[in-house]
Amino acid sequence: MQEFVYIIASVLFILGLKRLGSAGTARQGNMLSACGMGLAVVATLVGSGFSWIWILLGIAIGSAIGAVAAKKVPMTGMPEMVALFNGSGGIASLFVGWASQVNPPGGQLTVAQAIPLYLAVVIGGVTFTGSMIAYLKLSEKIDGKPVQFKGQQIISIALLGALLAGGLLFTFNFSGVWIVLAVLLSFAFGVMVVIPIGGADMPVVIALLNSYSGLAACAAGFIISNTVLIVAGALVGASGLILTGIMCKAMNRSLSNVLFSGFGSADAGGAGKDVEGEAKPISADDTYYILESASSVVFVPGYGMAVAQAQHAVKELGALLEANGCEVSFAIHPVAGRMPGHMNVLLAEADVPYEQLVEPDDVNPNMAATDVAIVIGANDVVNPAARTDETSPLWGMPIINVDLAKTCIVLKRSLRPGYAGVENPLFFCENTRMLLGDAKASVQALVTAFKE
């Protein structure tokens, strides 16, 4: 009976994921998957010998934390929140593995259980500290720049070797010593894996850690031969890997390059050609005159829009332009922001019409005929060096070709290089104007100008 309910739960997860794949059915898909989770929990609790007080206490505390966090987080803080939830799932699998060592299911561990047990602890531990570092970087509680030092990779390899050796020893005597060691080593390894990765590469890291948390759950499933854990964990593991692949492709880089190159650090080499020329600033009033006479405008949002919380003002400006007879679209690069699809969520929050959101491939062919491209807090995804400068670290990355538009207006706080630390020749282009200042204040100034 229990197995039967687990099958239904697995089917609900599969259907849920499938429906998450298109905008119309996504919310329903999420509900289906939540129902599957509820069924799996209820089916598990049909049985005897449960310590109900502890279970209810745990569920009450966990639900309270989860619900409050989910309700309170602003949409701009979404990447951090996902990282935290992900870390929470990772460490849960670690605890499940550890508890299975202390109190083995079936009274006595076998080698076939010990291997996934050890894996659940290690993958769970790496997911936990990796996600925490990602959270700290995303919320700018620590510097988002890649941290690199001499011997870093040697330390990582040594940690990995020690983890492997500990795992081997654990399968011989099932001693708790090896598990405690594995917890400590995997925590250290998780930190080592994420600190060398820069903030701009966070979409890749988050997707990858998501995949890990699924694999950790999967390993926990193998300890107790539980099919619903294995199926659900494997689904998440696979989906995380696919997303990771999509993110890497959008940056024209391999996964190993993202993980090990320390992209954007000072000594990453190949900082690209020095850019010559002078950036031409523009005032909000002059920008208004340009926009007022434009018949097609493309907005290119980036992480800066999220930081400035400018999405509502941007939406208003878009609506005013449209009322003025102008064709408006929002070109969204797959890795804009700090999380896959970050910009889409923000613009959806601001109620930007769905059909105005376009992908780079849709907008690039018409760029030369576009009157104005407005770049709001985006940098690397519009850097023409990716197309023109073979020595640039960004070389080969698909970008949005805003430099080809008749006029390009860049909203930026200052002339500093982007997150990746690469100079942007776009700022010095003949047809580029810099509207310096806080993105939200700048956009609001334009909105006011239109209304008057």
Partner: protein, 140 residues
């Protein structure tokens, strides 16, 4: 003549008794062996079967996700993150027939963290998708 027949019958009876005993013993041995085989098969078969399920689920996951449009990447990620909270099932089972403070503390921590992942993950995904949906309505 009669005595001969009686002794023959007694002999037969003895033989039958021995035969019966032997058969019973054989039966017991067979059953034991069969039990062992069954246990071996189900044990080995379980691992094989679970690995099989794992492999299929990985491929299914790849097929499901490959075609998702980029604007849904965030809800997809946070939705699948909520699914990884399925480890709550493992956490609950760790609380079955639990004994000793160490196991209880570990189990409790597992239940708490897994629940945070499940409840928070689903709610935040729903909140995000709610915004996507309201926009859809406007279109219609």
């Amino acid at each position: 003549m009669l005595e001969e027949q009686i002794s023959l019958l007694e002999h037969l009876q003895r033989e039958l008794g021995l035969l019966k005993e032997a058969m019973l013993q054989h039966q017991a041995e067979m059953m034991e062996a069969a039990g062992e085989t069954a246990a071996a098969v189900s044990g080995g078969g379980n691992l094989g079967l679970t690995l099989f399920v794992f492999a299929l689920a990985i491929f299914l996951g790849v097929e499901l996700i490959t075609k998702v449009p980029s604007q849904l990447h965030t809800p997809l990620m946070s939705g699948s993150n909520a699914i990884s909270g399925i480890t709550i099932v493992g956490a609950l089972l760790a609380m079955q027939n639990v004994s000793g403070p160490a196991a209880i503390i570990l189990g409790l921590l597992a239940v708490i963290t897994a629940t945070v992942n499940v409840v928070g993950g689903y709610l935040v995904t729903d909140r995000m998708l709610g915004m996507f949906k309201s926009k859809k309505k406007e279109e219609v």
